[in-house]
Symmetry: C2
Subunit: 79 residues, 2 copies
């Protein structure tokens, strides 16, 4: 099984929206195409290591924040 890409994609999208930027703006800042960002957010593939670092830098979060999600993706609906 490979759920990590999916979870990572969702987390990236959430953090990107919190940062208030579009896929295109993120893509430009890290030197990727919009389609690649879209593919990553949709869980089609994960970023390579170098880009993982760039993403964190642009979003101004530590890399580990990009991997902060629950095992099983439950426990999400607390208000």
């Amino acid at each position: 099984m490979g759920k990590l890409k999916i979870q990572f994609g969702k987390r990236l999208q959430a953090l990107r929206r919190e940062a208030g930027i579009t896929q295109e703006q993120l893509a430009d800042k890290i030197g990727l195409t919009v389609e690649s960002i879209s593919n990553i957010e949709r869980g089609l593939f994960g970023p390579k290591f170098e880009n993982l670092e760039k993403i964190a830098t642009v979003l101004k979060v530590p890399v580990k924040t990009l991997f902060e999600f629950e095992r099983g993706e439950s426990g999400k609906s607390q208000s």
Copy 2:
């Protein structure tokens, strides 16, 4: 600059040793060669996304644990 691979490598080595297994044992369990593990631990390259997931599984830690290190990697040189 690209310090992430170095930091990740050190963290991986620490966690592997905590788990009490050799590079070879880790390599076998995730389906890589010993040299690849060595290269990753030395920061020559990072694992691809799929293997990142496998590493975490074998070490029995959440992925984010592999990225838990201080920004700047200081505060390390106490004897």
